[in-house]
């Protein structure tokens, strides 16, 4: 029982990271109709930027804030410079550009920082919280609180602010938005910026656990895609719920299903993606689109 709780806590903590990345995937997908296969590598890049600031002697939060801000700007730049030219073209072109982002960011990281993951000290210290026998580390709790807070802030931004309303409008129906004087291109840029910033935050928070390195997001991005698929690619809430579900499921499967530990726990998100897309392609929270030939 205690062991079960332990696994659930670990799953929830990892799940917030998946939720953060999945949220970024959704914001981008809603806006530009692109599944950004490079999202994980972009987040890893941001994490290494955080590490760079840390190694220059900055405090953790200052380093993370700086990296998040830079990532926001870089995300906007990527949209404007690389995605805008292929906007509305066939799916293969969109896919190939994001795969280019994947290869490019991964290669740049390897060339700048090398391949060995860097250690990052947890900003929450090494304390543990005893919850009726089951133990939760301060790092796990901190991850849940911080990324949960970021996700809620993003949600509130979309639901409660004028800027968020404009972004939803631009994603929902670009043409009518243009007629209403909304600068659609600018909204899409902000969407990509937000996605990159949330990814940077999620990456920085997970770096004390997995280490900051070029391949840190290789498994995580598959988890994030599973989360987004489960929640529905068009639902921000779904992405977050999906992230937590994927985190807990993977953690439990790795612990209790024989042979699924280590590398092979990746089978869980893969199976989730396949099953969800086959049975309910719109996910749990998503909308069904009707198609006109």
């Amino acid at each position: 029982m205690i062991d079960l709780l332990q696994q659930i806590f670990a799953g929830l903590a990892n799940g917030t990271v998946y939720a953060g990345l999945a949220l970024g995937l959704c914001v981008v997908f809603q806006g530009t109709g692109v599944l950004n296969f490079g999202q994980g590598e972009m987040a890893a890049f941001s994490t290494l930027v955080t590490w760079q600031f840390l190694s220059m002697g900055w405090g953790f939060w200052a380093a993370m804030a700086a990296a998040v801000t830079l990532s926001f700007l870089a995300g906007m730049l990527v949209e404007r410079a690389l995605i805008r030219p292929v906007e509305g073209s066939e799916e293969l072109s969109l896919l190939v550009v994001t795969l280019g982002l994947f290869l490019g960011f991964n290669a740049l990281m390897g060339m700048i920082w090398g391949f060995h993951p860097k250690n990052v000290d947890s900003p929450f210290g090494n304390g543990v919280l005893d919850l009726g026998g089951a133990v939760m580390t301060a790092q796990q709790l901190g991850m849940i609180v911080v990324i949960g807070g970021v996700a809620m802030a993003v949600g509130a931004f979309f639901k409660l602010t004028d800027a968020g309303l404009r972004m939803r409008a631009a994603a929902e129906s670009p043409d009518s938005s243009r007629l209403l004087g909304i600068h659609v291109g600018r909204q899409l840029m902000i969407g990509w910026g937000l996605a990159a910033a949330v990814g940077a935050a999620a990456g920085a928070m997970s770096s004390p656990v997995v280490g900051a390195g070029p391949d840190m997001m290789r498994a995580t991005i598959l988890m994030a895609f599973a989360a987004a698929a489960l929640g529905g690619f068009t639902s921000r809430l779904g992405a977050v719920v999906g992230g937590l579900v994927v985190g807990v499921t993977t953690s439990l499967a790795a612990a209790y299903v024989p042979g699924l530990g280590g590398d092979l726990s990746l089978i869980v998100p893969f199976a989730l993606i396949t099953v969800v897309l086959l049975i309910r392609p719109q996910g749990l929270f998503g909308r069904v689109d009707t198609v006109r030939a």
Binding site: L35, V96, V97, F102, A107, L266, F270, L278, A293
Partner: protein
């Protein structure tokens, strides 16, 4: 190895019933003759180049065959796969594993790899019945990500992390060929056969059905095309060819290692298809050559230099020449020559 007669060039019977064959147009004739000459010249290379260059070329041809299989699926039918590197892995590992663990001769291994890959392709293709475009890409990408983990775990068959030690096979007894020459001939024959099969598939009735599915599945179905059956068939055939390509690739490189078939390998294959042009046989060669030969030079910039070069090239091709390098250069050539002639 002549490809000079295809049924489409035969004329129907004339009015007086003598049924003569019409003479193919001069242009078609020169094309076919050119192709036959090119293939003969390619086989002649066996005796002109050093073993090192030949083995590099064999690797290129095996990858080009894999790119062809991707062309059939992605270029002509519009089903995006980011998992063809893993399918190649199945074919490659089947060949090597059967040879090392069970002493099966490699021609049989190649065949077994193709069958196994066909089955895997059929299963991987099932989601395509309900999913399209980016979602299908996601499922196949997932397969590519978990594949190396599976290889590492299934140790009795795959040798686990350390892989399987395998030596490039020698030419059959009586032939006075070195191993590299023999493998080159095998892969060239594989590529030419694959190219021929692809041409037969994508022209005529089948080809029109494929491109109808690519443009709009609903319209295709409304016109009586059995969309689901064709998609599954194409997936299976494409996987079989990828499996053969994987087997040949493995014969050319020797030992089988799980790190060969990582997700970036699958992405590189798709990159090769896009850079060369997803609906072009010459493009498949250009693309494969690009991902084989560029790394040799780009690795001077660092370990992942090649990857960066491929990423940049991908973007440039998508922005500047969406049809691929092969088509862009023929377009440029005919543009230039037509201007020259006009003057």
């Amino acid at each position: 190895m002549s490809m000079s007669t295809t049924s489409t060039d035969h004329a129907t019977t004339t009015a007086d019933g003598t049924a003569p064959r019409t003479v193919p147009t001069r242009r078609a004739l020169s094309w076919r003759r050119g192709r036959a000459v090119a293939i003969a010249a390619a086989f002649a290379l066996t005796f002109l180049l050093t073993d090192y260059v030949l083995s590099q070329l064999a690797i290129t041809l095996a990858l080009a065959l894999a790119v062809l299989s991707l062309n059939l699926l992605t270029g002509y039918t519009g089903l995006i796969s980011v998992g063809h590197g893993a399918l190649m892995g199945i074919g490659g590992y089947a060949t090597v594993s059967l040879a090392v663990n069970a002493g099966v001769p490699y021609p049989l291994g190649l065949l077994a790899g193709m069958v196994l890959c066909g089955v895997a392709g059929l299963i991987l293709g099932l989601p395509s019945l309900r999913l399209s475009g980016l979602y299908l890409a996601l499922v196949t990408l997932g397969f590519a990500i978990i594949f190396p983990a599976l290889l590492k775990r299934w140790e009795p068959v795959t040798g686990g992390v350390s892989g399987l030690l395998y030596l490039t096979p020698e030419a059959p007894g009586p032939l006075p060929l070195t191993s590299a020459q023999w493998i080159f001939i095998l892969t060239l024959a594989g590529f030419v056969t694959g190219a021929y099969a692809l041409r037969r598939l994508v022209t005529g009735r089948t080809g029109r059905a494929l491109s109808a599915i690519r443009r709009s599945e609903l319209m295709a179905a409304a016109n009586g095309i059995p969309v689901g059956r064709i998609k599954l068939t194409v997936f299976t055939v494409s996987a079989c060819i990828a499996g053969l390509a994987g087997g040949l690739y493995q014969l050319a490189i020797g030992s089988a290692l799980p790190d060969t078939y990582v997700v970036t390998f699958s992405i590189m294959l798709l990159a090769a298809a896009v850079v060369g042009g997803v609906r072009s046989i010459v493009g498949a060669l250009v693309g494969a050559a690009f991902i084989v030969w560029v790394p040799d030079y780009a690795s001077m910039v660092g370990d992942r230099g090649p990857q960066l070069v491929v990423a940049i090239a991908l973007m440039l091709v998508i922005y500047l020449a969406p049809g691929g390098v092969a088509r862009a250069s023929t377009d440029l050539f005919s543009h230039l020559t037509s201007r020259l002639i006009r003057r």
